[in-house]
């Protein structure tokens, strides 16, 4: 299932202070002892926003960076587009080093390859909805009618048709963020950055927008870096996610990996509140070794345990779990579910596709 890597972040550091560069040799971020260097930087009255951050984003993947405020997640996403200049490390986009790029090349890259959605929308107050969405095309010098036509298509895509002539302040928060999303998609970028896009919205609207976002991604297949401070949001939308703390990545993995095998107590703090039956799926707890028994029900691997439970009550013998590819991947009995919910750690059951 592993798609090619779109964006790769290698040992990226961001240090604020008087002389941030002096901690690194020619901007090389790969050091022997990252923790020691981080301590040294903090000891020298410099602020460490990102410490030795490495991750890959695959083509078509939703990669979520989750962390509390001050953890460095917003700095990281800004490093990816060089709105914030990393102090050391490498950022490879399709294998090309973004940090080695000159001014003009960078602008070209931003124009063609990237789109970004901001927490507080970042809409231009002086432009109408239509012109806001057309703005990235305007700076490219695309003729007015052509860019407006494209912008209109994007506005339709996010369901704002009819509001083209409105100004941002005349829209609700949810509508404004739809404009922000339409704008970020206007240049049809391959990379899509979203910096806490739904944090400023009411809970109900937030859920709607999350569903909307997932629907869009099913159509568009972008490579996505999504920033959030909301663990539940991360679980809902992430293909893979990274948890950041104090500028460093604590753990990277699929949501279920984090829940089942938290790397440390900090990650466990988040997973403790997670209602596991809503997150764990039949595929996660299926026992591949046990053979099916006649009379077992059949259920898809992505069924959550919450939905599985009533089904299991009707099939006392257990159920057979069928993977996305149509092959059975194992069976589940009531005691498997109980054990999983009780301990959270089913024995060797890493589920491979």
């Amino acid at each position: 299932m592993s798609a090619p890597v779109k964006l790769s972040c290698r040992h990226v550091w961001k240090v604020y202070g008087e002389t941030p560069a002096r901690f690194f040799e020619k901007g090389r971020g790969a050091v022997d002892d990252a923790a020691a260097l981080a301590a040294r930087i903090r000891g020298a009255d410099h602020i460490l926003a990102a410490a030795d951050v490495s991750f890959d984003v695959h083509v078509g993947e939703i990669f979520v960076i989750m962390g509390l405020s001050g953890s460095g997640k917003s700095t990281m996403v800004r490093c990816l587009s060089r709105i914030v200049e990393p102090t050391a490390g490498e950022i490879l986009l399709d294998g090309e080093d973004l940090l080695a790029m000159g001014r003009a090349g960078l602008i070209e890259y931003r124009r063609r390859k990237m789109g970004m959605v901001f927490q507080n929308f970042g809409l231009m107050p002086h432009l109408t909805v239509l012109d806001n969405v057309a703005f990235p095309l305007e700076v490219q010098g695309i003729p007015r009618e052509e860019r407006r036509a494209k912008a209109r298509a994007m506005i339709d895509l996010v369901g704002l048709e009819g509001r083209e002539a409105s100004f941002p302040h005349q829209l609700s928060g949810g509508q404004q963020q739809r404009v922000g999303i339409a704008r970020s998609l206007a240049v049809e970028p391959e990379l899509w950055f979203l910096d806490e896009p739904f944090s400023a919205l009411d809970p109900l609207i937030r859920r709607q927008m999350q569903d909307e976002f997932l629907r869009l991604q099913r159509e568009l297949h972008k490579s996505i870096v999504f920033i959030t401070h909301d663990f539940m949001e991360a679980l809902k939308i992430a293909d893979r996610m990274a948890i950041m703390r104090d500028g460093a990545v604590v753990q990277i993995g699929r949501p279920v990996d984090l829940i089942l095998r938290p790397a440390d107590a900090y990650v466990r703090e988040f997973t403790n509140d997670v209602p596991w039956e809503m997150v764990l799926t039949a595929g996660d707890v299926a026992d591949a070794a046990r053979a099916p028994v006649p009379g077992m029900g059949h259920i898809a691997a992505d069924t959550t345990l919450a939905l599985l439970l009533p089904y299991l009550a009707e099939h006392e013998a257990g159920v057979v779990v069928r993977g996305a590819d149509g092959h059975d991947i194992g069976t589940i009995t009531a005691s498997d579910v109980v054990r999983a919910l009780a301990s959270g750690v089913p024995e060797p059951a890493e589920v491979t596709a």
């Binding site: 709105i83 124009r111 970004m116 929308f121 107050p125 002086h126 703005f135 700076v139």
Partner: protein, 683 residues
């Protein structure tokens, strides 16, 4: 009782020093002429040398600058009044709507109707030329200051100086460098009007949310696109507010500059009418100034604040405007009355107004004199020359006998003792000082003692650096030989500020508690603030004639506005959660006001005091027109004699007083804010 803290002891020592120096006299009480080392002569010499070297260049620049002004004046003079009116009415309509359009139309009809059309247009022409120049300079410097911290460190102090030196002091060097003519008004108004544009530009560009800039960056905008397509338009409202302030400043300076004369503009008409004591004409023409100011203010303010989303149904506003103006122009070719306002329709109520005023003054003489004399004898004179000299059988009806003096001393000491007993040691120490200074009078207070009082106040409010600055500033006043004038200015301004503060704060509190009062006060304050300063003098001059009392009233009328505004604003914008909490705890309305609102609003009130002081000092120079003595008068003397040194020294002196007062009040306000952990919202 514990040991007496040091602060109160210093105050007591200063009181004793004041008394002793006053009793003994000598060079430490009256600053001897022999110690004066005025820079005026050196300034004149420097200016002469400079004029010799660069004067030709300046005059060349001046004559170039005269072209656009002459051109604009010729154009406005040539255009039929109906066409000019149509243009401004349309501007009013697009800026704010039909109400403003009607107002502008009435104002222009009034100008033509009383027969001062040409003079009005001449003033307007200078404003129309100076505003774009001031805006361009201010915008360029603002952008520079926004991007470069180093440039900002140079620009900001220069703006401070330009805005604290009284406007009149500008005129003198400009006059010397450029020679007589319309250029003086133009250059002065550009210099006076560009600082607000710089400030608003920096403020506006800074206030653009970082996310918007980031959105532009990630869209791939180049640096130029980022500025012109993102930052600049997003800061538009603030920039247009800068244009509004620049326009008003330019207009006020054009009017002030008309004091030089020879420009046949409306400001000159007002001034000469005032000098001839022709109150009817001065009121009529002053009203023209007020109307021009209000119209320009509302139009530019309208453009700054109108919502972006104006839909023009199909037709372009330009086409409509062109059609209307073209139509009016065609009509004016057919109908002569639309070209030049017919003589027969000129309305001159001035003689009738003068007669009416005469009757009022004659009938009400007892009242008018009563008000004037009691204010003068019981308030102004005692502060100026002290109870010691002010109390006489002629003024108060009795002489100051030794028994009365002893009684006064006993009263002061008794009050001090009372304060001491209730634990307010600082107040207890301040009361004797107040008693001594009141007895001696401000102008009679020994200079060394006054310096000590000011420096110590600076130290208490703003720390060592402010104290040093205050000492240096006062050393300049002494050395330059303008100490007596400075004290006179301080006296007049001090009374005005005190009255403004008490009255203004009270009105502000009232306005914050009552919507009705607020609704009544707001248009009055708006009018007072947009009104050109000369005009404020006129009504007081009508009743009370020339003199310090008239000046005092004019200063109060002008400087009371910020005291009211800031108080009301401060009280109305307190955190709602705190007020709710206090109410939930059962505070009465009075308790809420005195225990919660006023203490929390104190930083805002102090900022209001700060503005009141600066306004008061600014008005002081204008007030010198109606016969006050002090630094303001010195500036006029300098201006009248073309004596750069004298005028400039006095101007710097006023700037010094303004800056010391400004830093002291700001320091108090800032301390208070820091203590509460609050930040003031911009006013």
């Amino acid at each position: 009782m514990n040991a007496i803290p040091r602060g109160p002891l210093v105050w007591l020592a200063l009181a004793a020093l004041t008394l002793v120096l006053w009793l003994t006299g000598g060079p430490l009480a009256t600053y001897p002429d022999a110690w004066i080392a005025s820079p005026a002569a050196a300034m004149n010499a420097g200016m002469d040398a400079f004029t010799d070297a660069a004067g030709a260049g300046f005059r060349a620049v001046g004559s170039v600058l005269e072209w656009p002004v002459d051109g604009a004046q010729a154009l406005l003079g040539l255009l039929p009044w109906s066409v000019t009116t149509a243009v401004f009415v349309l501007l009013g309509y697009y800026g704010s709507g039909w109400r403003l359009a009607v107002f502008v139309a009435l104002a222009m009809l009034y100008m033509a109707g009383i027969g001062y059309w040409d003079e009005s247009m001449n003033s307007l022409a200078i404003v129309l030329i100076s505003v774009p120049m001031a805006v361009a300079i201010g915008f360029a410097l603002g952008v520079l200051g926004f991007y470069s911290a180093r440039a900002r460190r140079v620009i900001m102090p220069v703006l401070d100086v330009l805005q604290t030196i009284p406007a009149f002091a500008y005129l003198l060097p400009i006059l010397i460098l450029f020679g007589f003519g319309t250029t003086v008004g133009l250059v002065a108004s550009i210099l006076y009007a560009f600082p607000p544009m710089v400030r608003n530009t920096i403020l506006g560009l800074r206030a653009v949310p970082e996310e918007i800039i980031e959105a532009g960056t990630i869209s791939g905008a180049t640096a130029a696109q980022l500025f012109w397509k993102v930052r600049f338009p997003a800061a538009r409202a603030q920039l247009l507010l800068g244009v509004n302030q620049t326009t008003m400043a330019a207009l006020s300076m054009v009017i002030i500059a008309s004091i030089i004369g020879g420009t046949n503009d409306i400001g000159w008409e007002v001034l000469s009418a005032m000098r001839k004591a022709d109150f009817g004409v001065s009121l009529l023409t002053g009203f023209v100034l007020a109307l021009i100011a209000m119209a320009l203010d509302r139009i530019t303010h309208g453009f700054a604040t109108r919502p972006r989303a104006i839909e023009w149904e199909g037709r372009s506003p330009w086409a409509v405007a062109a059609a209307v103006v073209g139509g009016v122009a065609m009509l004016s070719l057919l109908i002569p009355a639309l070209r030049d306002w017919p003589e027969a329709l000129v309305w001159d109520p001035a003689p009738a107004m003068n007669a009416a005023l005469e009757r009022v003054i004659v009938e009400g003489r007892a009242w008018i004199d009563g008000i004037k004399n009691s204010a003068f004898f019981y308030v102004m004179l005692p502060i100026k020359i002290g109870l010691a000299k002010a109390v006489s059988p002629f003024t108060w009806g009795f002489a100051l006998t030794p028994a009365l003096i002893a009684g006064y001393a006993a009263l002061v000491l008794g009050l001090a003792a009372l304060a001491w007993r209730s634990g307010r040691t600082t107040l207890a120490a301040l009361i004797p000082l107040w008693g001594v200074v009141s007895y001696i009078g401000l102008t009679q207070t020994p200079w060394l003692a006054l310096v000590g009082i000011v420096v110590h106040t600076a130290y208490v409010t703003g720390g060592r650096r402010l104290a040093l600055g205050a000492a240096a500033g006062m050393a300049f006043l002494l050395l330059a030989g303008i100490w007596p004038e400075a004290v006179l200015s301080l006296y007049l301004c001090g009374i005005a500020v005190l009255i403004c503060f008490v009255l203004g704060t009270a009105l502000g509190v009232w306005a914050s508690e009552s919507r009705t009062v607020s609704a009544i006060l707001r248009p009055v304050m708006d009018t007072l603030q947009t009104m050109p300063v000369f005009v404020i003098l006129i009504p007081f001059l009508m009743f009370f004639k020339i003199g310090e009392f008239t000046a005092l009233l004019a200063i109060i009328a002008y400087a009371i506005v910020p005291a009211i505004r800031y108080t009301e604003h401060g009280l109305r914008n307190l955190p709602a959660s705190v007020l709710e909490a206090a109410e939930t705890m059962g505070c009465t309305r009075w308790q809420l006001l005195t225990r919660v609102k006023l203490p929390l609003a104190l930083p805002a009130i102090m900022l209001g005091l700060n503005q009141t002081i600066l306004y008061g000092i600014g008005m002081l120079v204008i007030a010198a027109l109606v016969g006050t003595t002090g630094l303001g008068q010195q500036i006029y003397i300098g201006l009248g004699n073309g004596d750069f040194g004298v005028g400039m020294t006095a101007g710097i002196g006023m700037a010094i007083i303004a800056m010391i007062a400004d830093r002291m009040t700001q320091a108090v306000s800032r301390k208070r804010q820091e203590r509460f952990g609050m930040r003031m919202a911009g006013m």
